[in-house]
Symmetry: C2
Subunit: 302 residues, 2 copies
Amino acid sequence: MQIYIPRILLIGVGLIGGSFALAMKKQAAAGHIVGVDREQAALKRALELGIIDEIAVNFAAAVRDADLIVVAAPVAQTAAIFTSILPHLHEKTVITDVGSTKVDVVAAARKVLGAKSAQFVPAHPIAGREMNGPDAALSTLLIGKNVVVTKLAENSSVAVACVEAAWRACGAQLHFLTPEEHDSVFASVSHLPHLLAYALVADIAQKPHAARLFQYAASGFRDFTRIAGSSPEMWRDITLANRDALLIELDSYTAQLSQLRQCILDDNAPAIESIYRIAQNARHDWISAIERAEKPGTTGGD
Amino acid sequence: MQIYIPRILLIGVGLIGGSFALAMKKQAAAGHIVGVDREQAALKRALELGIIDEIAVNFAAAVRDADLIVVAAPVAQTAAIFTSILPHLHEKTVITDVGSTKVDVVAAARKVLGAKSAQFVPAHPIAGREMNGPDAALSTLLIGKNVVVTKLAENSSVAVACVEAAWRACGAQLHFLTPEEHDSVFASVSHLPHLLAYALVADIAQKPHAARLFQYAASGFRDFTRIAGSSPEMWRDITLANRDALLIELDSYTAQLSQLRQCILDDNAPAIESIYRIAQNARHDWISAIERAEKPGTTGGD
């Protein structure tokens, strides 16, 4: 389905929101894009970069006139944003978001929007860069990337079709999970690794001989800790927004560490090698699957 | 000091040993290089690639005639290698190694070689690639890389000078730590991260819904787990060879994780952000320092 959305309200004009807007414009899938952001400098920059056509001067009117509202702000602000939208929300307006957690966002939507949560189709684009803000936005960022849509039982088919078509227009591959499945999956493969990387660097940084330790850190350490360079504010919010699923994954991981610790104490070389080999094989299979999927000409068919 | 070593015996012709040999030849710092390896195929390939000039046919003679012996085999084999060398070791021959752990290697040297441990100057080049074996060896691998030399009290100044000059001829930057300092530093910035990455991938791989989890893993996960693609055998050996230092670091890290877990339970957003920020800042400073050091023209001076 080719889509054309006359008026979009973009709440948050940073990396993800900006990349969505640029892609929609490039595909001629969007008409007029109005921007809102808590940072005026970001709004001005987004206007200069052609991410938005207009900085919202009248928020109420911008909400009322929008065909699609994209909430691309840190997840902890979602409830406040829904509260500000609600009084002006037209019944035909569709809402989507880009939050890294979904259970809390859906709960906020249902609590704040009530029956109008039917208009909200949650989404999570799996894309990022080390840079943030409008200057980091790229029209190509979402091409080939996974976007997880966590449809709600109350969503209208029209709202779902609009959101799916918009993300597809950006070049994304759509996947469908429940909000609970989504949060459990990302607790495991994204939120926990971030927490683990932050914890390692923080632990080292707080040692009295930290300077010497960093002096000898090499490329393996650099890659392992790259995600500890991410925004502390954003990841604080994700950590707390997804606390239940994250604690389950953290406890599972801690149990795996305890098992390895016991193997070391027992000088159990075969058990240590076995755990390492499970990991090496699983990672090898995963990388091979990614490379097959990325190879042009092998994903075709009919 | 420019160096020329007439005869080198290379025990282990893989990535590190091979790169050392290629660099020494390129700098005209080595005469004749004889190779020994537990794998005949690797020896033949090393000969084809010009890493070695000769496959050792008479191990006793090869040891006896060597000016420098480089032990570039997995650390768990060090004691056995010293035992095989000892009966044929000339008093003027110098020995170095490339092991990732040092306390155990030094203990093996003193136990097996006795007073002749004075001839053994331990070293650890901080360099690697994702590939292994002679085909992965590069004459440029060690250029600008750190090599930690853990001199022994009993080392002769001639032996130390020979080993230092050899690693410098390969283009490496030399650093000096005691074996205990070395093992503590690398437990922290290398061995623990490997264990943590293996544990994460193994934990996920053993879950019933592992396939779905890997399906959504993205670039952050890829970087975080890259070191879990390393050789299980080699890292099993390093884990056990450096168990005392590694357990100290693992327990420190586990305490940091427990603290974070409690912050999540307490919904303590400022404390979580503070830990994440310590990590982000420390990593940022570290990366900046690396980039300053790598920038041509800024490391000069007198």
